[in-house]
Amino acid sequence: MKNEYLAFPFEILSIVKETEIDWTYTVKYDGPLVGGQFMQLSIPGVGEAPISISDFRDGSLDMTIRKVGRLTDAIFNLEAGDSLFMRGPYGNGFELSKYVDKHVVIIAGGTGLAPVKNVIEKLTSGEIKTNSTRALIGFKSPDDVLFEDALKRWSQDHEVTVTVDKQPDKPWNGKVGLVTEHIPTLEGYDIEKTEAIVVGPPMMMKFTTLALLKAGYLPQNITVSFERNMSCGIGKCGHCKIDETYVCLEGPVFNYTTAVKLLD
């Protein structure tokens, strides 16, 4: 009998402070991963929670963690050389082969950028050869911008729009307004054949997908990723269930045609 709940220590190699409250932890890791999957991350005695894998490479993976609760408070006290406990990976992740030779638009809101960071890396670096890759990324304010270096790198050869919710007090090179306001700028290619990925807070995903449909994107060409409370990651604890669907098993990545039928 395999005990799937056992968590093992993984060494923290480095910590990058993206913002005041969002830090990226790179941990030593070997094993197959798919962008969009998540880990059950824990600290013994403190707690366990699902955290999406923001990026990975040979020998390590990244998790971008926001300080929002008891567990993440404790994680923020750790340093390089310390250990994080993990089990996983869980969830389906993004099926990248469907984006080959397609026009692709990725729309992310806030920390929703983390689960698609690896996808954007693979599409912009040419590892997955698309016809075009564009990204529309929204943050609350300039202080909340994640992955600044990556954003610069992606925008060298690709159309990357970064927007903040409100006109900031300090100098800002990007756009202003919610991501939905910038969806009209994502025209120019054959919209009916363009693939879209939408990840972010529930309200942002709801209004963004509606705006995409209004702009002419086809439901079957829209992919979303859900975030839910989870205690197990393996279809037992029941927290992430929506109707007959378990987000940890069948998701967190869903085609919009499936996602729209999931009523909370």
């Binding site: 009998m1 395999k2 005990n3 799937e4 709940y5 056992l6 968590a7 220590p9 824990s42 600290i43 013994p44 005695g45 403190v46 707690g47 366990e48 929670a49 926001r66 929002v68 609760g69 567990l71 993440t72 250990s83 807070p201 529930p202 975030e227 839910r228 409370n229 205690s231 197990c232 393996i234 279809g235 037992k236 604890c237 029941g238 927290h239 269930k241 109707d243 007959e244 378990y246 940890c248 098993l249 039928k261 009523l263 909370d264």
Partner: protein, 341 residues
């Protein structure tokens, strides 16, 4: 083989059986009821026939015997995790057909949902044998006939209780203690409930836009009546949800435990995520979520309804909300929706 035993012989049999098995049955605990000075009928380990309550339904289901309310998954000493051992003595649980069917629903989640089996559930569950108590009338709130759970396909032992004698049908030979001999063999056929006082019409959702059900006015009644205490979840034989809980067990924070404890979809915080997002904040929405799980969407995954009609949720609700009535309400709404088409 079936054997007829006097009360006294059955008592001696249980005593002999307890050498190899832990036997669990409904018992009475004096003054333990939620109301003052009343008794609680609940499951516990028994060693004699006098302890067993035959004529009443237990307040809690027998699931806690092998799926504890709170369980330590492992103890951490620094970075090393140790999995606690469990008692390896086989268990025999006396239960009614609805509950045995309910345990099949728990098995579906813990064994068949996803690719992983639940280690902690499996290691206790495989030690459990079942003795079905013949149930021919049920109780006021039962609706097992409507759910098709009044019968069982198989059992390790069956018991017919008739006041002064007990007939046993033993299928599992290990339930006959070594050197123990029974009297003459008896013909045995287990009888079942044929009709309940409470009847439920299962809604047929085929071809119905679920938005019309989810957005229906009927759920508002439960928003005002339900107090989200979760008693319906904890008394249910088929509710399987749990939450992880970590605790330090020393002042130096070198020793800790990861535990899991029962969770319920009616209880506040069930869907909360760090950062403030949550789903189904209204109690009526939680009622809808539970109802749809019990009589609609579980069936889509496992080809049988989760609810087994034991009626405990109706018995325990402090607000007198009836689950069977709510199912019938949904069935009526579905008919109206289809009629409007």
């Amino acid at each position: 083989m079936a054997y007829q035993l006097s009360h006294e012989m059955f008592d001696r049999y249980l005593a002999a059986l307890s050498a190899t098995h832990r036997v669990f049955a409904p018992v009475v605990k004096a003054n333990k009821n939620k109301l003052a000075d009343l008794d609680l009928i609940t499951y516990d380990e028994v060693s004699g026939a006098d302890q067993i309550i035959w004529s009443e339904k237990s307040y809690f289901s027998p699931k806690e015997i092998f799926y504890p309310i709170r369980e330590t998954l492992f103890r951490f000493v620094g970075k090393e995790a140790f999995v606690p051992e469990v008692d390896q003595k086989p268990m025999l649980i006396l239960l009614r057909p609805c509950d045995l069917n309910g345990i099949d629903r728990l098995d579906q989640i813990f064994f068949n949902n996803g690719v992983s089996k639940d280690f902690y559930y499996e290691r206790r569950r495989k030690l459990v044998k079942f003795a079905v108590i013949e149930c021919t009338e049920g109780f006021d709130s039962c609706f097992c006939v409507s759910m098709g759970t009044n019968k069982v396909d198989s059992y390790d032992m069956a018991l017919k209780y008739s006041g002064d004698s007990i007939t046993l049908d033993i299928k599992d030979e290990t339930l006959v203690p070594d050197g123990y001999s029974f009297g003459a063999n008896e013909d045995f056929e287990l009888d079942f409930v044929k009709s309940n006082k409470t009847k439920v019409e299962l809604p047929d959702f085929e071809g119905v836009d679920l938005n019309q059900v989810f957005g229906h006015e009927m759920w508002k009644e439960y928003t005002s009546r339900c107090i989200a205490c979760g008693r319906c979840n904890t008394s249910c034989i088929t509710c399987s949800c749990f939450t992880m809980q970590d605790v330090f067990t020393d002042d130096e924070k070198m020793l800790s435990e990861r535990r899991r404890r029962w969770a319920g979809c009616h209880i506040k915080g069930f869907s909360d995520m760090a950062g403030g997002h949550s789903f189904r904040d209204k109690n009526g929405e939680r009622m809808r979520f539970k109802l749809m799980h019990k009589v609609y969407d579980f069936n889509k995954r496992f080809d049988k309804h989760m609810c087994v009609g034991c009626g405990r949720c109706d018995d325990v609700c402090p607000e007198y909300i009836s689950f069977s009535k709510s199912i019938n309400k949904v069935a009526k709404i579905i008919q109206e929706v289809k009629h409007e088409k």
